[in-house]
Protein backbone atom coordinates (compact mmCIF):
# COMPACT_ATOMS: atom_id res chain seq x y z
CA UNK A 1 0.00 0.00 0.00
CA UNK A 2 2.54 2.57 1.10
CA UNK A 3 5.42 1.30 -1.02
CA UNK A 4 4.67 1.85 -4.70
CA UNK A 5 7.30 -0.59 -5.97
CA UNK A 6 6.03 -3.97 -7.11
CA UNK A 7 7.12 -7.06 -5.19
CA UNK A 8 10.37 -8.66 -6.30
CA UNK A 9 13.64 -7.21 -7.54
CA UNK A 10 13.68 -4.39 -10.06
CA UNK A 11 16.18 -4.54 -12.94
CA UNK A 12 18.44 -1.95 -11.34
CA UNK A 13 18.53 -3.98 -8.15
CA UNK A 14 19.47 -7.11 -10.09
CA UNK A 15 22.17 -5.10 -11.80
CA UNK A 16 23.51 -3.99 -8.46
CA UNK A 17 23.42 -7.45 -6.94
CA UNK A 18 25.31 -9.01 -9.83
CA UNK A 19 28.41 -7.17 -8.70
CA UNK A 20 28.72 -9.69 -5.91
CA UNK A 21 29.79 -12.39 -8.35
CA UNK A 22 33.47 -13.28 -8.39
CA UNK A 23 35.69 -12.70 -11.43
CA UNK A 24 39.31 -13.52 -12.03
CA UNK A 25 41.62 -10.55 -11.81
CA UNK A 26 45.26 -10.20 -12.87
CA UNK A 27 46.72 -7.61 -10.54
CA UNK A 28 49.36 -5.11 -11.53
CA UNK A 29 50.18 -3.96 -8.03
CA UNK A 30 50.38 -5.80 -4.76
CA UNK A 31 47.59 -5.50 -2.29
CA UNK A 32 47.02 -7.30 0.96
CA UNK A 33 44.04 -9.52 1.39
CA UNK A 34 40.97 -7.61 2.52
CA UNK A 35 38.56 -8.71 5.18
CA UNK A 36 35.27 -7.99 3.50
CA UNK A 37 31.84 -8.70 4.96
CA UNK A 38 31.25 -11.39 2.40
CA UNK A 39 34.46 -13.15 3.28
CA UNK A 40 38.20 -12.54 2.99
CA UNK A 41 39.70 -11.89 -0.43
CA UNK A 42 43.06 -13.35 -1.33
CA UNK A 43 46.16 -11.16 -1.32
CA UNK A 44 47.03 -9.68 -4.69
CA UNK A 45 50.50 -10.64 -5.89
CA UNK A 46 51.14 -9.74 -9.51
CA UNK A 47 50.94 -11.44 -11.89
CA UNK A 48 49.06 -14.29 -10.20
CA UNK A 49 45.36 -14.37 -11.10
CA UNK A 50 43.07 -14.03 -8.09
CA UNK A 51 39.30 -14.17 -7.75
CA UNK A 52 37.69 -10.99 -6.49
CA UNK A 53 34.11 -9.68 -6.29
CA UNK A 54 33.11 -7.83 -9.42
CA UNK A 55 32.62 -4.45 -7.77
CA UNK A 56 36.14 -4.53 -6.38
CA UNK A 57 37.51 -5.73 -9.70
CA UNK A 58 35.84 -2.85 -11.53
CA UNK A 59 37.19 -0.35 -9.01
CA UNK A 60 40.73 -1.62 -9.36
CA UNK A 61 40.39 -1.64 -13.11
CA UNK A 62 39.33 1.98 -13.12
CA UNK A 63 42.38 2.85 -11.03
CA UNK A 64 44.51 0.85 -13.46
CA UNK A 65 45.73 -1.47 -10.75
CA UNK A 66 44.43 -4.67 -12.28
CA UNK A 67 43.13 -6.34 -15.41
CA UNK A 68 40.04 -8.49 -15.54
CA UNK A 69 40.08 -11.83 -17.32
CA UNK A 70 36.87 -12.42 -19.21
CA UNK A 71 35.25 -15.69 -18.13
CA UNK A 72 35.40 -18.53 -20.67
CA UNK A 73 31.75 -18.21 -21.64
CA UNK A 74 32.26 -14.57 -22.60
CA UNK A 75 34.40 -15.30 -25.65
CA UNK A 76 33.44 -15.24 -29.30
CA UNK A 77 33.58 -19.03 -29.72
CA UNK A 78 31.58 -19.82 -26.60
CA UNK A 79 28.93 -17.20 -27.29
CA UNK A 80 28.61 -18.29 -30.90
CA UNK A 81 28.11 -21.87 -29.80
CA UNK A 82 25.44 -20.88 -27.29
CA UNK A 83 23.73 -18.66 -29.84
CA UNK A 84 23.61 -21.54 -32.31
CA UNK A 85 22.03 -23.69 -29.64
CA UNK A 86 19.41 -21.06 -28.90
CA UNK A 87 18.48 -20.40 -32.50
CA UNK A 88 18.27 -24.06 -33.41
CA UNK A 89 14.68 -24.93 -34.16
CA UNK A 90 14.76 -28.05 -32.11
CA UNK A 91 15.38 -26.08 -28.93
CA UNK A 92 12.65 -23.54 -29.46
CA UNK A 93 11.11 -24.48 -26.14
CA UNK A 94 14.26 -24.41 -24.08
CA UNK A 95 16.89 -21.99 -23.02
CA UNK A 96 20.56 -22.85 -23.01
CA UNK A 97 21.41 -24.91 -19.96
CA UNK A 98 22.75 -23.58 -16.71
CA UNK A 99 26.22 -24.43 -15.53
CA UNK A 100 26.25 -27.66 -13.56
CA UNK A 101 25.41 -27.26 -9.93
CA UNK A 102 28.17 -28.29 -7.53
CA UNK A 103 27.63 -31.68 -5.90
CA UNK A 104 25.87 -31.59 -2.55
CA UNK A 105 28.42 -30.89 0.13
CA UNK A 106 26.52 -32.24 3.10
CA UNK A 107 24.07 -35.00 3.74
CA UNK A 108 20.86 -33.99 5.39
CA UNK A 109 20.46 -35.09 8.99
CA UNK A 110 16.78 -35.75 8.41
CA UNK A 111 15.78 -38.16 5.70
CA UNK A 112 15.02 -36.21 2.59
CA UNK A 113 14.84 -32.75 4.15
CA UNK A 114 17.92 -30.69 3.34
CA UNK A 115 16.29 -27.43 4.35
CA UNK A 116 16.27 -28.33 8.00
CA UNK A 117 19.96 -29.17 8.18
CA UNK A 118 21.88 -26.64 10.25
CA UNK A 119 25.12 -26.90 8.40
CA UNK A 120 24.09 -27.62 4.86
CA UNK A 121 25.21 -25.01 2.40
CA UNK A 122 23.63 -26.02 -0.86
CA UNK A 123 24.70 -23.52 -3.45
CA UNK A 124 22.44 -22.68 -6.32
CA UNK A 125 22.01 -19.83 -8.72
CA UNK A 126 22.54 -16.97 -8.56
CA UNK A 127 25.79 -17.00 -6.68
CA UNK A 128 27.48 -20.22 -7.72
CA UNK A 129 31.10 -20.55 -6.88
CA UNK A 130 32.83 -20.14 -10.20
CA UNK A 131 30.18 -18.54 -12.36
CA UNK A 132 32.34 -15.84 -13.87
CA UNK A 133 35.92 -16.63 -12.93
CA UNK A 134 38.50 -18.12 -15.25
CA UNK A 135 37.35 -21.56 -14.20
CA UNK A 136 33.74 -21.06 -15.28
CA UNK A 137 32.07 -23.48 -17.62
CA UNK A 138 32.44 -22.40 -21.20
CA UNK A 139 29.23 -23.77 -22.62
CA UNK A 140 26.64 -22.47 -20.18
CA UNK A 141 25.36 -19.02 -19.32
CA UNK A 142 25.35 -18.34 -15.59
CA UNK A 143 22.50 -16.53 -13.90
CA UNK A 144 23.91 -13.03 -14.25
CA UNK A 145 25.35 -13.43 -17.73
CA UNK A 146 23.73 -10.34 -19.20
CA UNK A 147 24.71 -7.97 -16.43
CA UNK A 148 28.26 -9.25 -16.01
CA UNK A 149 28.79 -9.35 -19.75
CA UNK A 150 27.62 -5.79 -20.15
CA UNK A 151 29.69 -4.44 -17.27
CA UNK A 152 32.82 -6.17 -18.47
CA UNK A 153 32.61 -4.99 -22.06
CA UNK A 154 31.93 -1.47 -20.84
CA UNK A 155 34.68 -1.13 -18.29
CA UNK A 156 37.25 -3.76 -19.24
CA UNK A 157 37.17 -3.23 -22.97
CA UNK A 158 40.89 -3.67 -23.49
CA UNK A 159 40.90 -7.11 -21.89
CA UNK A 160 38.87 -8.57 -24.72
CA UNK A 161 40.24 -9.89 -27.97
CA UNK A 162 37.33 -8.97 -30.21
CA UNK A 163 35.13 -6.48 -28.40
CA UNK A 164 32.67 -5.68 -31.18
CA UNK A 165 31.96 -9.31 -31.94
CA UNK A 166 31.31 -10.04 -28.27
CA UNK A 167 29.00 -7.06 -27.96
CA UNK A 168 27.05 -8.07 -31.03
CA UNK A 169 26.77 -11.67 -29.85
CA UNK A 170 25.50 -10.57 -26.45
CA UNK A 171 22.87 -8.43 -28.07
CA UNK A 172 21.75 -11.22 -30.37
CA UNK A 173 21.57 -13.69 -27.52
CA UNK A 174 19.47 -11.29 -25.51
CA UNK A 175 17.00 -10.81 -28.35
CA UNK A 176 16.63 -14.51 -29.04
CA UNK A 177 16.00 -15.35 -25.42
CA UNK A 178 13.55 -12.50 -24.89
CA UNK A 179 11.52 -13.58 -27.89
CA UNK A 180 11.44 -17.14 -26.49
CA UNK A 181 10.20 -15.80 -23.17
CA UNK A 182 7.51 -13.78 -24.86
CA UNK A 183 6.32 -16.81 -26.76
CA UNK A 184 5.94 -18.50 -23.41
CA UNK A 185 3.37 -15.85 -22.48
CA UNK A 186 0.84 -17.58 -24.66
CA UNK A 187 0.55 -20.57 -22.37
CA UNK A 188 0.02 -18.50 -19.25
CA UNK A 189 -2.99 -19.74 -17.39
CA UNK A 190 -4.50 -19.43 -13.93
CA UNK A 191 -2.96 -22.67 -12.83
CA UNK A 192 -0.27 -23.16 -15.44
CA UNK A 193 3.49 -22.80 -15.45
CA UNK A 194 6.20 -22.07 -17.98
CA UNK A 195 9.46 -23.98 -18.16
CA UNK A 196 12.09 -21.37 -17.49
CA UNK A 197 15.25 -23.33 -16.74
CA UNK A 198 18.22 -21.25 -17.68
CA UNK A 199 16.67 -17.79 -17.75
CA UNK A 200 18.95 -15.10 -16.36
CA UNK A 201 18.33 -12.55 -13.60
CA UNK A 202 17.89 -9.49 -15.78
CA UNK A 203 15.53 -11.29 -18.14
CA UNK A 204 13.31 -12.34 -15.26
CA UNK A 205 13.32 -8.81 -13.85
CA UNK A 206 12.18 -7.46 -17.19
CA UNK A 207 9.10 -9.64 -17.46
CA UNK A 208 8.32 -9.99 -13.77
CA UNK A 209 5.88 -7.08 -13.60
CA UNK A 210 3.92 -8.11 -16.64
CA UNK A 211 3.77 -11.84 -16.02
CA UNK A 212 2.89 -11.28 -12.38
CA UNK A 213 0.04 -9.01 -13.37
CA UNK A 214 -1.34 -11.43 -15.94
CA UNK A 215 -1.24 -14.45 -13.66
CA UNK A 216 -2.85 -12.44 -10.86
CA UNK A 217 -5.65 -11.26 -13.13
CA UNK A 218 -6.28 -14.79 -14.34
CA UNK A 219 -6.31 -16.04 -10.77
CA UNK A 220 -8.93 -13.49 -9.77
CA UNK A 221 -11.16 -14.28 -12.71
CA UNK A 222 -10.84 -17.95 -12.01
CA UNK A 223 -11.52 -17.58 -8.31
CA UNK A 224 -15.19 -18.43 -8.30
CA UNK A 225 -14.57 -21.44 -10.53
CA UNK A 226 -11.75 -22.60 -8.25
CA UNK A 227 -13.93 -22.27 -5.19
CA UNK A 228 -16.80 -24.23 -6.66
CA UNK A 229 -14.35 -26.87 -7.85
CA UNK A 230 -12.88 -27.15 -4.36
CA UNK A 231 -16.31 -27.48 -2.84
CA UNK A 232 -17.16 -30.20 -5.30
CA UNK A 233 -13.93 -32.02 -4.49
CA UNK A 234 -14.50 -31.96 -0.74
CA UNK A 235 -18.04 -33.19 -1.26
CA UNK A 236 -16.81 -36.06 -3.36
CA UNK A 237 -14.24 -36.95 -0.80
CA UNK A 238 -16.84 -37.01 1.95
CA UNK A 239 -19.15 -39.08 -0.22
CA UNK A 240 -16.27 -41.42 -0.88
CA UNK A 241 -15.77 -41.94 2.85
CA UNK A 242 -19.46 -42.47 3.26
CA UNK A 243 -19.35 -45.36 0.80
CA UNK A 244 -17.52 -47.46 3.38
CA UNK A 245 -20.98 -48.42 4.51
CA UNK A 246 -20.86 -50.69 1.45
CA UNK A 247 -18.62 -53.02 3.37
CA UNK A 248 -20.93 -53.02 6.37
CA UNK A 249 -23.72 -54.28 4.14
CA UNK A 250 -21.51 -57.14 3.00
CA UNK A 251 -20.79 -58.19 6.56
CA UNK A 252 -24.46 -58.20 7.35
CA UNK A 253 -25.07 -60.38 4.31
CA UNK A 254 -22.45 -62.85 5.49
CA UNK A 255 -24.26 -63.25 8.74
Amino acid sequence: MALPLPPGLTPSEVGFLCEMEHVTVIPRQTLDGLELLGGPTGALKPPLPTPLPLWLALLLKKQRRANITPPPWLSVEALTQILDFETDERTAELFSPLPDLPPATTTAPLEGDPYLAHDSLELSAPFLKDAATARAQADALPYHWLEIGHLLITHAADDFDDLDAVRKLLRDLREVRMSKLRKGFEVLDAGGGVKMNGVGGMEIAEVRGFVGGVVDGLRRLNRSREESRKERETEERENGLGSSSYRDDEDEDML
Binding site: M1, P6, T10, P11, S12, G15, H150, L151, T154, H155, R182, F185, E186, L188, D189, A190, M202, A205, E206, V207, R208, G209, F210, G212, G213, V214, G217, L218, R220, L221, N222, R223, S224, R225, S228
Partner: protein
Protein backbone atom coordinates in the same frame (compact mmCIF):
# COMPACT_ATOMS: atom_id res chain seq x y z
CA UNK B 1 -15.13 -9.07 0.40
CA UNK B 2 -12.76 -6.82 -1.45
CA UNK B 3 -9.96 -5.25 0.59
CA UNK B 4 -11.15 -2.15 2.38
CA UNK B 5 -8.42 0.30 1.47
CA UNK B 6 -7.75 -0.61 -2.12
CA UNK B 7 -8.78 2.17 -4.52
CA UNK B 8 -9.17 -0.47 -7.20
CA UNK B 9 -11.76 -2.33 -5.18
CA UNK B 10 -13.60 0.87 -4.25
CA UNK B 11 -13.82 2.02 -7.84
CA UNK B 12 -14.85 -1.43 -9.02
CA UNK B 13 -17.67 -1.58 -6.53
CA UNK B 14 -18.85 1.86 -7.53
CA UNK B 15 -19.81 0.56 -10.96
CA UNK B 16 -23.51 0.20 -11.53
CA UNK B 17 -25.73 -2.80 -12.04
CA UNK B 18 -29.47 -2.87 -12.74
CA UNK B 19 -31.52 -3.74 -9.69
CA UNK B 20 -35.24 -4.38 -9.53
CA UNK B 21 -36.88 -3.48 -6.26
CA UNK B 22 -39.40 -5.93 -4.92
CA UNK B 23 -41.02 -3.51 -2.50
CA UNK B 24 -41.92 0.15 -2.50
CA UNK B 25 -39.44 2.58 -1.03
CA UNK B 26 -41.26 5.94 -1.12
CA UNK B 27 -38.66 7.77 0.96
CA UNK B 28 -35.99 7.41 -1.70
CA UNK B 29 -38.02 8.94 -4.54
CA UNK B 30 -36.04 12.15 -4.51
CA UNK B 31 -32.62 10.65 -3.97
CA UNK B 32 -29.80 10.91 -6.49
CA UNK B 33 -30.18 7.16 -6.94
CA UNK B 34 -33.43 7.77 -8.71
CA UNK B 35 -31.87 10.53 -10.83
CA UNK B 36 -33.52 13.00 -8.49
CA UNK B 37 -36.87 12.51 -10.22
CA UNK B 38 -40.00 12.44 -8.12
CA UNK B 39 -41.26 9.09 -9.41
CA UNK B 40 -41.99 6.80 -6.50
CA UNK B 41 -40.04 3.57 -6.20
CA UNK B 42 -42.69 0.89 -6.60
CA UNK B 43 -42.16 -2.87 -6.49
CA UNK B 44 -41.26 -3.12 -10.15
CA UNK B 45 -38.87 -0.19 -10.57
CA UNK B 46 -35.50 -0.99 -12.03
CA UNK B 47 -32.64 1.33 -11.15
CA UNK B 48 -28.92 1.33 -11.77
CA UNK B 49 -27.39 1.03 -8.34
CA UNK B 50 -23.71 0.81 -7.44
CA UNK B 51 -22.55 -2.75 -6.87
CA UNK B 52 -21.90 -2.46 -3.16
CA UNK B 53 -25.43 -1.22 -2.54
CA UNK B 54 -27.08 -3.59 -4.99
CA UNK B 55 -25.30 -6.61 -3.53
CA UNK B 56 -26.37 -5.75 0.01
CA UNK B 57 -29.97 -5.36 -1.08
CA UNK B 58 -29.98 -8.52 -3.13
CA UNK B 59 -28.38 -10.68 -0.47
CA UNK B 60 -30.17 -9.41 2.62
CA UNK B 61 -33.33 -11.08 3.81
CA UNK B 62 -35.03 -8.72 6.27
CA UNK B 63 -37.65 -11.03 7.76
CA UNK B 64 -35.61 -14.18 8.18
CA UNK B 65 -34.08 -16.72 5.79
CA UNK B 66 -37.32 -17.80 4.15
CA UNK B 67 -38.46 -14.38 2.97
CA UNK B 68 -37.67 -12.83 -0.36
CA UNK B 69 -34.73 -10.39 -0.62
CA UNK B 70 -35.32 -6.68 -0.94
CA UNK B 71 -34.24 -6.50 -4.56
CA UNK B 72 -33.13 -8.71 -7.36
CA UNK B 73 -29.89 -8.13 -9.15
CA UNK B 74 -29.53 -8.48 -12.90
CA UNK B 75 -26.42 -8.81 -14.97
CA UNK B 76 -25.17 -5.38 -16.00
CA UNK B 77 -25.28 -4.63 -19.71
CA UNK B 78 -21.47 -4.62 -19.85
CA UNK B 79 -21.57 -8.37 -19.29
CA UNK B 80 -24.70 -9.03 -21.28
CA UNK B 81 -25.08 -11.53 -24.12
CA UNK B 82 -24.23 -9.00 -26.84
CA UNK B 83 -20.85 -8.18 -25.30
CA UNK B 84 -20.17 -11.86 -24.58
CA UNK B 85 -20.79 -12.75 -28.20
CA UNK B 86 -18.55 -9.94 -29.40
CA UNK B 87 -15.80 -11.15 -27.07
CA UNK B 88 -16.06 -14.73 -28.27
CA UNK B 89 -15.84 -13.54 -31.85
CA UNK B 90 -12.87 -11.19 -31.52
CA UNK B 91 -11.62 -10.32 -28.06
CA UNK B 92 -9.13 -7.69 -29.04
CA UNK B 93 -11.49 -5.45 -30.97
CA UNK B 94 -14.03 -4.88 -28.21
CA UNK B 95 -13.62 -1.57 -26.39
CA UNK B 96 -13.79 -2.73 -22.80
CA UNK B 97 -13.33 0.77 -21.44
CA UNK B 98 -16.59 1.82 -23.05
CA UNK B 99 -18.45 -1.02 -21.38
CA UNK B 100 -17.03 -0.50 -17.90
CA UNK B 101 -13.89 1.16 -16.69
CA UNK B 102 -13.05 -1.74 -14.41
CA UNK B 103 -14.38 -4.47 -16.65
CA UNK B 104 -12.59 -7.48 -15.21
CA UNK B 105 -13.34 -6.34 -11.66
CA UNK B 106 -17.00 -6.13 -12.56
CA UNK B 107 -16.85 -9.58 -14.11
CA UNK B 108 -15.18 -10.98 -11.01
CA UNK B 109 -17.90 -9.61 -8.71
CA UNK B 110 -20.64 -10.91 -10.94
CA UNK B 111 -19.01 -14.34 -11.05
CA UNK B 112 -19.03 -14.33 -7.26
CA UNK B 113 -22.77 -13.70 -7.16
CA UNK B 114 -23.91 -15.76 -10.13
CA UNK B 115 -22.12 -18.96 -10.99
CA UNK B 116 -21.96 -18.56 -14.73
CA UNK B 117 -19.35 -20.98 -16.06
CA UNK B 118 -19.66 -19.83 -19.63
CA UNK B 119 -19.16 -16.21 -18.79
CA UNK B 120 -16.13 -17.16 -16.69
CA UNK B 121 -14.61 -19.05 -19.60
CA UNK B 122 -15.22 -16.18 -22.02
CA UNK B 123 -13.67 -13.67 -19.63
CA UNK B 124 -10.60 -15.84 -19.11
CA UNK B 125 -10.05 -16.25 -22.84
CA UNK B 126 -10.52 -12.56 -23.45
CA UNK B 127 -8.03 -11.68 -20.76
CA UNK B 128 -5.41 -14.02 -22.14
CA UNK B 129 -5.75 -12.83 -25.72
CA UNK B 130 -5.73 -9.16 -24.82
CA UNK B 131 -2.74 -9.71 -22.52
CA UNK B 132 -0.77 -11.02 -25.50
CA UNK B 133 -1.71 -7.95 -27.50
CA UNK B 134 -0.64 -5.72 -24.65
CA UNK B 135 2.73 -7.46 -24.47
CA UNK B 136 3.25 -6.81 -28.18
CA UNK B 137 2.26 -3.20 -27.95
CA UNK B 138 4.44 -2.59 -24.90
CA UNK B 139 7.49 -3.67 -26.86
CA UNK B 140 6.96 -1.42 -29.81
CA UNK B 141 5.95 1.77 -28.07
CA UNK B 142 7.98 3.84 -30.45
CA UNK B 143 5.80 2.99 -33.41
CA UNK B 144 2.67 3.00 -31.27
CA UNK B 145 3.21 6.60 -30.30
CA UNK B 146 3.67 7.66 -33.89
CA UNK B 147 1.01 5.46 -35.46
CA UNK B 148 -2.65 6.10 -34.99
CA UNK B 149 -4.25 2.78 -35.87
CA UNK B 150 -3.14 1.13 -32.66
CA UNK B 151 -4.73 3.98 -30.70
CA UNK B 152 -8.11 2.27 -30.86
CA UNK B 153 -6.94 -0.78 -29.00
CA UNK B 154 -5.06 1.27 -26.43
CA UNK B 155 -7.99 3.53 -25.69
CA UNK B 156 -10.26 0.52 -25.33
CA UNK B 157 -8.26 -1.05 -22.50
CA UNK B 158 -9.85 -1.11 -19.07
CA UNK B 159 -7.93 -0.12 -15.95
CA UNK B 160 -6.42 -3.51 -15.12
CA UNK B 161 -5.11 -3.80 -18.67
CA UNK B 162 -3.63 -0.34 -18.50
CA UNK B 163 -1.72 -1.35 -15.38
CA UNK B 164 -0.48 -4.45 -17.20
CA UNK B 165 0.71 -2.34 -20.09
CA UNK B 166 2.51 0.02 -17.75
CA UNK B 167 4.17 -2.93 -15.98
CA UNK B 168 5.38 -4.44 -19.24
CA UNK B 169 6.60 -1.11 -20.53
CA UNK B 170 8.32 -0.26 -17.25
CA UNK B 171 10.20 -3.53 -17.25
CA UNK B 172 11.79 -2.97 -20.63
CA UNK B 173 12.35 0.70 -19.91
CA UNK B 174 14.13 0.12 -16.59
CA UNK B 175 16.43 -2.45 -18.15
CA UNK B 176 17.32 -0.03 -20.93
CA UNK B 177 17.99 2.72 -18.43
CA UNK B 178 20.25 0.43 -16.41
CA UNK B 179 22.26 -0.38 -19.48
CA UNK B 180 22.71 3.29 -20.27
CA UNK B 181 23.54 4.20 -16.69
CA UNK B 182 26.26 1.58 -16.43
CA UNK B 183 27.69 2.46 -19.80
CA UNK B 184 28.43 5.93 -18.57
CA UNK B 185 30.23 4.98 -15.36
Amino acid sequence: MAPYYSPTAILTDAQKAPTTFSLAVPALSHSPLNNNSGTPITPATTLDLPLWLAEMLAVSRPSGPASAPLATLDMPSALGPKVMNALTADSTSVELRQQAQWFYGLGERMLELFEDEEMGAVLLNTFKKRALEIADKAQNTRTAQQGGDSGDFMSGLDETERQLFRAAHDGTHTVKRWFEATSRG
